[in-house]
Point group: C2
Chain length 351, copies 2
């Protein structure tokens, strides 16, 4: 999916060129900018991704496929709850396929399973890639995990707080230190960035733990650190099944708690209050330890809504409240969390 | 599925006519004995279900379809981990379809999706029912739950301990007291017994909580008590995703902890120790309360391996250890747990 040097993307974000609902677009622009020709959003024509998403420099927002003639692939750039195709986008997808373009989507509703899209792709000669499509049918066995390969898992207070981004940034930091580190993508956006992984929220519930265990078993042999992307939250009323299956399936040695400063309610369910970080630390540790020894080793703050002074105050507050290292991996860099991760290595060696 | 007065079952349990792997057979014989003509197990020909499963009276075990000429439906009577069709059973299924019989299966591997079976059904004129097949695509919203309808959820120390049976028995007890009680089946066996429900372990992970919430919303209007069948265990390395999604989706007012006396390790994963009951009580309560107020109100003991004296001693031990009512709903009857459930009603009324 990713890493195809001939891929030239136009990313559909119509009405959602912002970092949360448009997180797929935002992350692909951040980590694959060389592949992105433009974003497609008629409500924001003439602006740049840098202005709206804080990344991507001069990548333009355009109003139609005609305005990005160099693009050969339309990517669906949003991740709505429930994952259905917004009705207004159907014509855009059909137009792209009609021009012979490829379509890449991470929605639950598969583009390739819709007869009119499949037919349009056949006529136009383009391909359809539904990133969430999978055929996982293996249960976990909890055998063969290599303790010399450190497993770090990002877990969240809520959806869409930055668990994927933190895992990628920590993985890059570990690689910069010379480690054989690998990012294990578990969501459609991560897979679009990394080029492999498992769309864990689309796996049949019985096979969630087994599917992520397979990823670990596959990559542990030639890596000494795995950074496994978390999903949802252990307290999320909709998605806790995904979170817990993933947690037990990847059996992390260390967890990093990710949250967005200033968020008080569940995203998209404003009538549900979020639980405090200290409570969530306890619950994640309790649940993880039911299956394998694990501890929370640090906190990653998403401080995008704060100014520099506020962000520093929040960082101090969290360090004191939880007694854990804390930083915003973008604003502060990942060093403080990286130190905590490196300290786990000798602990493992002594087991 | 169930409740079809013309259904005459022969249940395939080849080599597994015992209460755990053969739990589908065992429960259908217990709750739908009038529909069962025979069990099919060449290794146990001439014996009765009463001898091997403790239920069903003189229902015979036979060695072939010819020995149960009154049967019009072949039911797959086992629930193996992973849910694949045992290779040796393919010919039996083909034979049944070839005779024009119907086939009912709760396996993950769908009979109807296998071309040779589908073709045989077409030729023979019988139907294929894959009970786990579903198209659940709705997330939970946590809106509209009716607090006057009591939600009781059976949760487990492990798989295959009797969570479904306890929910059914408590539901029957509530009905006998005049309550409008409904058993909400969440597994293939429960669905085969009740005739409706949701095969929750086969639902896509993102939609587990939503699927069970839909069952609650559907049945709460015309019932004052729902008994929601639990699945797996919150500490099960393979299936905790299912357990937690179900727990959060059904938002139980009260939970009943079900376990089998004498079991020390995870069933089918003998290298994994089970967690003690007091620990599990804490974890279930903590996890349930993240989403909705809930408490553990009693313990259901599966004492099938104990004699009367041992069972009574175990019951006393558990009552003291946990400070909760405890009984084996088959051996002792469900009264002690029913009392605990009835005490929740005024608590709800006062909220």
């Amino acid at each position: 999916v990713a890493g195809d040097s001939s891929r030239r993307l136009i990313i559909l974000t119509e009405g959602h060129t912002e970092p949360i609902t448009g997180k797929t677009a935002s992350c692909v622009v951040r980590y694959r900018p060389e592949e992105v020709v433009a974003l497609l959003d008629k409500t924001q024509v003439g602006r740049t991704t840098q202005e709206l998403l804080g990344v991507g420099g001069a990548i333009p927002i355009v109003g139609g496929l005609d305005d990005a003639p160099g693009a050969n692939t339309l990517m669906i750039g949003i991740a709505p709850s429930g994952g259905r195709i917004p009705p207004a986008w159907r014509q855009i997808i059909l137009d792209a396929l009609g021009r012979g373009m490829n379509v890449v989507s991470g929605l639950h509703e598969f583009i390739g399973d819709t007869p009119e899209f499949a037919e349009a792709a056949r006529k136009g000669g383009g391909t359809i890639t539904d990133v969430r499509k999978n055929d996982e049918r293996d249960v976990s066995h909890r055998k063969g995990l290599r303790e010399e390969c450190l497993r770090i898992h990002t877990v969240g207070q809520d959806c869409s707080v930055g668990k994927m981004l933190v895992a990628v940034e920590l993985c890059h930091a570990a690689q910069a230190l010379g480690h054989q580190a690998k990012f294990i993508a578990t969501g459609q956006t991560g897979i679009m960035v990394e080029g492999d992984g498992v769309p864990i929220d689309r796996v049949i519930a019985d096979f969630v733990a087994g599917a992520v265990e397979k990823q670990v078993l596959k990559h542990q042999a030639n890596h000494d650190m795995l950074f496994i992307e978390g999903q949802g939250s252990i307290s999320h009323p909709k998605y806790s099944a995904v979170t817990v299956g993933l947690l037990h399936g990847c059996a992390p040695h260390g967890m990093i708690l990710v949250y967005e400063a200033g968020r008080e309610n569940v995203y998209g369910m404003e009538y549900e209050k979020l639980h405090p970080l200290d409570k969530l630390c306890q619950v994640y540790e309790t649940m993880a330890n039911l299956v394998s020894p694990s501890k929370m080793i640090g906190v990653a703050i998403n401080s995008r809504k704060l100014n520099a002074e506020q962000a520093e105050a929040e960082r101090d507050r969290v360090r004191k409240q939880l007694g854990l290292p804390a930083c915003d991996v973008i604003r502060d860099g990942p060093d403080e969390l990286m130190q905590a991760i490196l300290q786990l290595k000798p602990v493992l060696a002594s087991r």
